[in-house]
């Protein structure tokens, strides 16, 4: 088995999915985690619990409900169909939505922790200097939260790379559209093509290790600079 004969499109598709998911997650995760870090409301624990659900639920549960929700009569699928004229199941867009839900806690939790650690004082100081809340958030909190953002982005990205069960259930394994790396590896194993499965698995293992290593190295540097 030579490396050149392996179809590489699942790798690019996976990187694209993980990248796009991470961007969406940072955009969605920032207001959610900011709210969670500041609110005193009674239902805060309930929101925290919902955000953490993908950590404990088997992906088959999430995948099964998404399959029902994405269907032509489903509560996401039906309005989506009316709005865009296309289906969500078996599409790349569907995978992005599924991945955002699946990796949500990996982005929200580190961001929330960082925002909580920043506390009220820097913002109060900024307010005294007549900075608007939005200005204060972007010029004070975001720079102070860089470590949190790096951790959140990398965890969200890496977790989406390794996503399997949910994609298996809503993806339909279409080459170039929904056939991501983990599914491709699974299919090689199932068809007893262990050599290709090995090559792809080892690549993913090494890549994931390097990514995580980079986070820990970067985090160490930032710790010194900020503290």
């Amino acid at each position: 088995m030579s490396l050149t004969s392996i179809d590489l499109s699942p790798i690019f598709l996976t990187l694209k999915l993980a990248g796009l998911t991470t961007v969406v997650l940072l955009l969605v995760g920032t207001p959610v985690s900011w709210w969670l870090s500041r609110t005193q409301r009674r239902w805060k624990p309930a929101v925290e619990a919902v955000v953490a659900l993908p950590l404990v639920l088997p992906p088959t549960v999430l995948g099964f409900y998404l399959l029902l929700a994405f269907g032509p009569q489903g509560w996401i699928g039906a309005p989506w169909q009316q709005l865009t004229g296309s289906a969500l199941s078996f599409t790349f867009t569907g995978l992005v939505i599924a991945s955002v839900l699946y990796s949500l806690p990996f982005v929200v939790q580190p961001l929330q922790g960082t925002f909580e650690a920043i506390g009220h004082k820097p913002l109060e100081a900024a307010a005294c200097l007549r900075a608007s809340p939005v200005d204060a958030f972007f010029s004070i909190c975001v720079p102070m939260a860089v470590r949190g953002y790096v951790t959140a982005a990398v965890l969200g990205f890496a977790h989406t790379l390794g996503e399997f069960g949910v994609v298996l259930m809503v993806g339909g394994s279409i080459p170039g559209k929904t056939l991501v790396l983990s599914i491709s590896i699974y299919e090689h194993v199932e068809s007893l093509d262990y050599a290709t499965a090995h090559a792809l698995s080892a690549g993913l293992l090494a890549f994931s290790f390097v990514v995580l290593l980079a986070v820990y190295v970067v985090n160490r540097r930032f710790r010194y600079r900020i503290a």
């Binding site: 269907g71 032509p72 009569q73 699974y186 299919e187 194993v189 007893l192």
Partner: protein, 253 residues
Amino acid sequence: MWHNLSMRMVVFFLLCVNSATVVASDVHAGVAANFATTFKVLKSRFEMETGYTIIESRGSSGKLYAQIRQGAPFDVFLSADAALPLRLENEGLAVKGSRFSYALGRLVLWSATDKNVAHGEAVLRRGAFRHLALANPKIAPYGAAAKQALVTMDLWEIVQGNVVYGENVAQTYQFVATANAELGFVALAQVLSKSNAAATRVWEVPQTYYQPIRQDAVVLNRAKHNRAATQFMRFLKQPAVREVIEQTGYGVP
């Protein structure tokens, strides 16, 4: 008092261990996913007749095969194809001479919503559907048969852009049952196991359109001297049992 409590715990523990040995099974079967519902019927019948117990592990045949090679504790293997049992025999992992075909798979085109599916080929040719679900032809025998049938009908090139793949025939069924795919190729046994209404929305693919799906069973080496396992294999060949297999949606060789 404390002594008493710990004694009770010991007794409780012993009871647990003891009951665990009581429910230990006599035959551990690895069963291909498509045969699951039929197997359930056969299992209770066999247990009633013989007093032996069976436990089953379900999965795609490829996965079960890989597990057997890695030492999974199965006594018999009911595959969805003929190739994997043969391979196990050649690799010295299965008992020579124990291999036989217990069922012939029947492929159907099925829809959860559309009654027109009974027109079969014409519905496929009209192409008024967004998704057609197949089991992955690379790993699932029913998928390979579905692809062959489409090629035979000169439809493969036409529908290919609308095909979505389930990792096995059970997942393919799921895609169609949830209406995410309007049409799908599944096993007749799956459709029959559900409801009469479901059975009206099928088209059985003519068996000349695809290579027969010969499903073979084999006794694995660890069960060489397991009487219950041998008896179960004999049971599968009985005329009355073959009739049950036939009624639940298979051909019998």
